[in-house]
Amino acid sequence: MQQIPWEVMLILLPLAGAMACFLWPRRTLLFGLISALGVGGCVAGLGWRLLEQGAQRYAVGGWGAPLGIDLYADGLSLLMLIITALVGLGVSIYSIGYFERRQAILFWPLWLLLWSALNALFLSADIFNLYVTLELLGLAAVALVALAGGANALTAAMRYLLVNMLASLCYLLGVALLYHNFGSVDIAILAQRVEASPAVWAAMGLMSAGLLLKSALFPLHFWLPPAHASAPAPVSALLSALVVKASFYILLRLWLEIFPQTGAAPGQLLGVLGAAAVLWGGIQALRQTRLKLLIAYSTVAQLGYLFLAFPLGSSFAWKGSLYLLLSHALAKAAMFMAAGNILRFCGHDRIADLDRVAQRLPVTMIAFSVAGVSIVGLPPSGGFIGKWMLLEAALRAGQWWWVIPLILGGLLAAAYIFKVIGYAFTQAGVLRQTNKVPMSMEWAALALALAALLLGLVALWPLSLMEIGLPFGGSEVDAIQRAEQS
């Protein structure tokens, strides 16, 4: 029996949806939602296959690596695809009410192309193909930011575009070095052939620099707050939840497969930068007076956590980092949507003037608070599980100092989240002029926030998916450690 190649469907379906939206602009909503649901179905199909048969490799064109391009799906890519589909569905529903028609006919094709790029990126096993998907992703993201119009959004988009182009070139140069050293651009083949050499070091430096720039690791985060804060709310959600994660995903893959034997120093450096990001982003978020900027700086901080796994390097730490990534994606998307609702409702997002929003937009406020719980890392939430795993990994590895940023970051996050919530509990007068917020926008935010919360209660399930294809190496090490100690 011939198997349906879900991987290919995942890439082509949103692509086809984008083309249909472009061709029939009056039907964007229909095509957009069909694509969103279809992608959800394909992810489920792929997940089912992975559960039954383990990691999958698909040779596009039948050539196979190294000549052709391979698609590869294991637990890591599957989880990224699932989270993309979840956030994507939420954003799609949210966008129905958010955009007026003129923007909608541009938003939908761009968003579906972005989705296609994300899926292609998470499925690619080829570092040059990853470059193409990165470019597709970056350009679509820039176009979506610029959709907001206005001087802030335009300058932010411009900065974002330049950063993207620069980062992609750095990455491409690294690809060139790797290809010419080992004669392949396939990750698995490179992983077999790679051995430490100056070229590998240079490639690691260049590719990491490019990808860190795109993932906005401190101090390369300067472009992120303006871009994420000035984009339309659903776009902010996509950028913070998924787009920055995409480059992190590539970095993770490279780090796990190609650069494992470069020694401990680079990992420690990334850890230090991550810790700095956590603290700096938290402090900056606390200082902001506008809600969307606060959330954007919170993203800077939260991205920092993900890098704390690099110095630890154990499979448990990687999983914790990935878990944080997943829950941050859901929570942050919910948060930006909630901010979008507030912005729509009040006409501004000045935190100090958020009087009585809690009473007027209860669902939105609950969504924000619930997402905040996960961002802070309080139980029971996905953020808590991720932090717990990182804390445990750090203490097990004897590197207790990583506990400090993890905890301080949580306290800072609590401070800036409750700063917002606190303003919602004020007695100030009733707002003068308010706009109606569609119900779909409120409930989409709440659904994603609750999903982030739920991640804290069903951790075993995502954690078992992470085992498919053993992207983080065997978990036996952890099991043995555990057995020894108990």
Binding site: E100, Q103, G149, G150, A151, L154
Partner: protein, 94 residues
């Protein structure tokens, strides 16, 4: 052989010199013209490196189209700069 070396060195020096000049030029128009020239020299380099396909692509896209895009953007930029104080268009949704 020596001719080959001479050609290579000339090409490389031309590339670096053009890049240096175009990136340092005070006049934007001149910079763009130099950039087009740079693209054409790049095309020569591609030919020298036995990459005729790339040479064609570079000449047509890298030098030609990008150059045209840059020139037209510069022209519109100058138009905007001339009229910007009287017809300052507040950006936003159209």
């Amino acid at each position: 052989m020596i001719l080959q070396w001479l050609f290579d060195s000339l090409l490389i020096i031309a590339l670096l010199w053009l890049a240096w000049r175009l990136l340092g030029s005070a006049d934007l128009f001149k910079a763009i013209v130099l950039f087009i020239a740079f693209g054409l020299v790049m095309a020569l380099a591609w030919v020298r490196l036995d990459a005729p396909d790339v040479a064609l692509a570079e000449a047509a896209i890298g030098a030609g189209l990008t150059g045209a895009l840059l020139l037209s953007a510069l022209a519109r930029l100058n138009d905007l700069a001339d009229t910007t104080h009287e017809t300052h268009t507040p950006s936003g949704k159209k």
